[in-house]
């Protein structure tokens, strides 16, 4: 694709649009919630552009990925962005999910955050979106590091924005863990640069293949792979490193929880996928035995995340621990170390990015109906007070349990299909089954809790709460997406598989 069409410029335009939105937000007037509207509009434009990019790449014949040199200099000298089907699909999904979680929590954000802070909050959200897009498109390992740092600072401060004691503590722990993670990533990048002499992914890949073939520097390569994977795993809350997550995601304001759980974790996971496929290559990963480690950690996360979620009474903390389990699914797909497995993992990234924000948004709506209490006991019968939130929660819970027709089913079935070709089939199937049962064990009681209510709640003898239109639209869109993903996932999976095939 050498024609300089609009599609060719979309990756660059979408990153820059979010950046410029972030830069001009502080000088905008704070009245009428202009900053938030600006971010929503920009996210919408990015979503439309990414949708067009998917269309253009899908209908293009032949080569369906291109490199975009950022600046006047070609590959090994200047920075580069790369866009293919996979990146386009992910960017589309990120922007849609972020847009919906911002609009859905329009009201709760206004309640939680004073007006003066809200403008800065929007700046950080825009920066977060820009860094996620950049992490998706970047073809340069050092660019990725810079945007990881933006992501870290912005993510920690959108946790701390609520300014209560618990959120400050959660943000501090999150920050400290993230710093360990980015320190490891930085050390590893230095090592890789020392070994290969490149920072761009493709030249690095050829050099690494050459080194492995000659048997040179195998040990430093292994160490740097382990360090960078560990660093990114800490940031994406793989199980043993995930103790910061429930505090951070459970105590922050709803929009932050939705974005952090649904998208920020995924940005780092996608970077791991990129590293595995494009920098090291699946053969090298297998030779260095990294896939087995990832597989075992993924299975542990799937089970232990659910076990921890079982113990929670606070609904937001429960959903946060469920995120840990879902991250485990993605790592399981990665650990299968095949194109099918990685495609299933990517599908699960998308599914989770669409479902988890919906769960957090509707949990926020439910707890708003119960005087902002978050314990499951207090949420009894809240379904009948805020039906939209109730419906959203039920749909999300069904999806997380993997009931056919809902989005979660799509990724679970594709993970199952992918594991048929793998030598680890028994383990992965057992883990999938066990984890589905465990998921049901905590989502079903939560559903029962919000559905059982006293008579006055069912028959509407309570003060009516006004559900804002934005909340309805967002939940409606989320549910529609959920069903779309659950019923028509095969074309999407095929699209992703095409993307993964040309990814390496």
């Amino acid at each position: 694709m050498t024609v300089k069409t609009l599609a060719y410029n979309i990756p660059f335009i979408s990153i820059f649009l979010m950046m410029i939105a972030a830069i001009i937000t502080p000088v905008l007037p704070k009245r009428h919630r202009i900053p938030e509207k600006l971010s929503c509009i920009c996210l919408f434009i990015v979503a439309v552009l990414s949708g067009y990019l998917i269309y253009a790449l899908d209908t293009a014949n032949g080569d369906i990925a291109f490199n975009f040199p950022v600046g006047h200099y070609p590959a090994p000298w200047g920075n580069e962005l790369r866009a293919g089907l996979l990146e386009a699909v992910l960017a589309f999904c990120y922007s849609i999910a972020m847009l919906l979680s911002l609009t859905g929590n329009f009201q709760s954000t206004a309640e939680d955050i004073p007006e003066r802070r809200r403008s800065f909050y929007c700046v950080l959200m825009n920066l977060l979106a820009a860094s996620l897009l950049a992490l998706t498109y970047a073809n340069d390992i050092f660019t990725s590091y810079v945007f990881i740092e933006i992501n870290t600072i912005a993510a920690c401060s959108i946790v701390a924005v609520k300014n209560s004691a618990s959120t400050i503590r959660a943000a501090l722990r999150y920050l400290i863990m993230s710093l360990v993670g980015s320190g490891l990533v930085l050390i590893s990048i230095c090592l890789l640069y020392d070994l290969t002499g490149h920072l761009l992914m493709q030249p690095m890949h050829t050099k690494i293949i050459e080194l492995v073939k000659n048997g040179k520097y195998i040990f430093p390569l292994t160490v740097s792979l382990a360090l960078i994977t560990a660093g990114l795993a800490i940031k994406s809350a793989l199980y043993p490193f995930s103790f910061w997550l429930p505090d951070a995601h459970g105590s922050s304001t709803n929009a932050s929880s939705a974005v952090l759980s649904g998208l920020v974790l995924k940005g780092h996971i996608f970077l791991i996928i990129k590293l595995f496929l494009r920098v090291f290559g699946l053969d090298v990963i297998e030779a260095l035995r990294m896939d087995k480690v990832i597989f075992i950690l993924g299975v542990t996360a799937m089970i232990m995340g659910s076990v921890h979620a079982l113990k929670q009474l606070n609904i937001k903390r429960m959903i946060a621990w469920s995120s840990v389990a879902q991250v485990g699914y993605i790592f399981l797909g990665l650990g299968l170390n095949s194109v099918e497995g990685i495609s299933a993992a990517c599908l699960h990234i998308i599914v989770h990015a669409c479902v988890k924000p919906m769960l957090f948004t509707s949990a926020g709506g439910l707890s708003a109906a119960a005087d902002h209490l978050k314990s499951l006991h207090d949420l009894l019968g809240t379904f009948y007070i805020n039906k939209w939130a109730g419906l959203g929660f039920v749909a999300g819970a069904c999806s997380m349990m993997g009931i056919p027709g809902f989005a979660g089913f799509a990724s679970k079935i594709s993970l199952t299909m992918a594991s048929f070709d793998s030598p680890l089939i028994i383990w992965s199937l057992a883990a999938l089954a066990l984890s589905s049962v465990l998921n049901a064990l905590y989502y079903v009681p939560a559903m029962i809790a919000i559905l059982t209510g006293t008579d006055e709640k069912i028959h509407g003898v309570h003060e009516k709460i006004i559900i804002p239109l934005s909340f309805k639209i967002s939940i409606g869109m989320f549910i529609a997406l959920n069903f779309y993903l659950g019923l028509r996932f095969v074309p999407l999976l095929r699209l992703i598989m095409r993307g993964v095939n040309i990814f390496g």
Partner: protein
């Protein structure tokens, strides 16, 4: 191995420093001291001696005359990142101190659990009263 380490002594020192920083990060319960890690992190990238552009009467553009400029860029980025992360972390710590009156994240933790217990007792009391009224 020792001989090789001596050749790469810059890297070795950087690695040991970053290890000390990491230990600080994990061990220190005092938040301010924790941020020493960041200073060590800056060191990691600072391994190769960076710039010089020499000027004879003509512009010398020969590879042998210069050191690799890329690490200089890495160092610069590392420093800037450290500065902004440190500022942010200190701001959070200030807030933390105002909320808990302590810089020790653990003692704050135990206070937190006590606090929660009292809160739970309070909530339970409320429930009792509500039952009685109805």
């Amino acid at each position: 191995m020792i001989a090789k380490l001596l050749i790469n002594h810059y890297e070795a020192v950087a690695v040991i420093l970053s290890g000390i920083g990491l230990a600080n990060l994990l061990l220190q319960r005092n938040l301010i001291k924790v941020y020493l890690f960041l200073a060590a992190k800056g060191w990691v990238s600072e391994r190769a001696a960076p710039i010089l552009l020499k000027d004879g009467s003509e512009w010398v553009m020969d590879v042998d005359k210069y050191v690799n400029p890329i690490p200089a860029g890495l160092v610069l980025t590392g420093i800037v990142v450290s500065v902004s992360v440190t500022a942010f972390a200190l701001a959070l710590t200030l807030r933390f101190y105002e909320k808990y009156g302590s810089l020790n994240i653990d003692s704050a933790l135990s206070q937190m659990t006590k606090e929660q217990e009292i809160l739970e007792a309070e909530a339970a009391l409320k429930v009792d009263i509500g039952d009685n009224i109805s």
